[in-house]
Amino acid sequence: MREVAIIGAGMIPFGRREQDELMDMLATASLIALDDAGLGDTSVDAVHVANVGGGMLQHQSAIASSLTDRLSLLPAAAETIENGPASGASAVKAGFLAVASGYYDKVLVVGGEKMHDISAPRATDFVAAMTHPQAEYPYGITMAGLGGMFARLYMEKYKITPLHLHAVSVKNHEMGALNPYAHIKSPIVPESVFEGDFAEINNPIVADPLRLYDLCPVSDGAAAVVLSTVEVAKRSGRPYAVVAGFGQATDTHTLAQREDPVELKAVTLAARAAFDMANLTPSDIHVAELHDAFTILEIAISEHVGFFKKGEGGEAALDGKTCLGGQIPINVSGGLKARGHPLGATGVAQVAEIVWQLRHELPPERQVQNAEVGLTINLGGFANNVLCFILKRVQP
């Protein structure tokens, strides 16, 4: 298997992008990544597009073919990849395997989603379509609802309190405010959001016990990366990232069917596979992007990856161990919580963020000092399909 480099990364600001069509966002992010890769007018061998809602929301299918034409990347191979909220990481995986196998030398991976074309109830319904069609969906369950049921159990079992959840939310909003690509750029004022007479109004329950500030926003956005052989990467003469480890695992579709519903088994297995491949351990990771669709998930994933023992992730967040400058900075981008969660874009955006961190090119207020190794966790469904990447900095 060949070593695979990530030589370009691009993103457009996430948020409410009413002026853009889905294809505009995908094309813009792609061009930024291609320019960043220094490919100029050179084409790529393949284009992988991560998207979930094109068919359901924009009534558009075969998106990758359309994008490849629009970018004049013909006759590159083109695929659209749908794997729920893990579509982005799945598209990166497809690109990684294609280059690692020796079949392609250069692959463009782009993920994007346009979720504001529809009303909030329809967007909620669209996201809920990934729940089980007989055992969950008809009952009105939502992803936040699954998050609420998971949070109740996790909080009871591991004595997690709202203060622990607030710590995640405050941290990620603080970092989002420093990230030009973030959807939410306002730091939280705890006195008005979590305390006082207006807390119930400013931070209402969405899916008990989770409140508004425990949830990621509904976002539009796109992100892209360019994967290549190490030989192509070396030609740039600048630092680049390589895929040191990758792992993926699945779990039962329904939360109810899991032996222990608070056990994120697929996260543990995916991370373990990635660590084994990279020959690294959790203590070797300098920066991580974890799938914090809900604050409780950042805490739970940080434990299941192995950064903290079970039951210690909440205290770690409260103690600042996951902040920039802490033991393991998590979601320095603002995470899904503040950068936003355009489904197909998220897994690609996580990888792009780690690439920038490893190239040491972020502003000091967001840069993890001397970051050499980074990790991403992207969840599909409610942690029923999990992908983990470990990236390593290379200085040519």
């Binding site: 909030a120 007989q134 009952y139 009105g140 609420g148 159990l153 899916a207």
Partner: protein, 118 residues
């Protein structure tokens, strides 16, 4: 439990593991032979939530849902007949019924509905 609950679960003929929803191979022993079973007795509430941001198709301010585990180990999601999560706790006993859970395409869809017994 009301006898007309229409939910069908499957018990592996080899290892006895109970599956709901249906699986074509046993999650534990991978065999393919199952017996159809129905939930038996009352259920223990494993977890629950109240959802205030509902998908289209639900014309109400909130919805309370939970996962119940029946006496024969069938676990399933259902709506809960109560006006507040403050009246619920994990481990409480609930009675199951089969009743309307939503309107879809101008017809009533029925499903599992839990009623707190304590």
């Amino acid at each position: 439990m009301s006898s007309d609950v229409m939910l069908v679960a499957h018990r592996c003929q080899t290892c006895g593991k109970v599956h709901y929803p249906r699986h074509d191979r046993c999650l534990r022993c991978k065999r393919r032979e199952f017996d159809e079973i129905h939930p038996q007795g009352n259920a223990k509430l494993l977890t629950y939530t109240a959802i205030y941001s509902l998908p289209c198709g639900f014309d109400q301010p909130f919805l309370i849902l939970g996962v119940g585990e029946f006496e024969n180990n069938v676990r399933a999601l259902g709506q809960i007949k109560t006006d507040s999560v403050k009246r619920l706790w994990t481990g409480m006993v609930v009675k199951a019924e089969w009743g309307p859970i939503r309107f879809q395409a101008d017809r009533i869809v029925s499903g599992l509905v839990f009623e707190p017994l304590e």
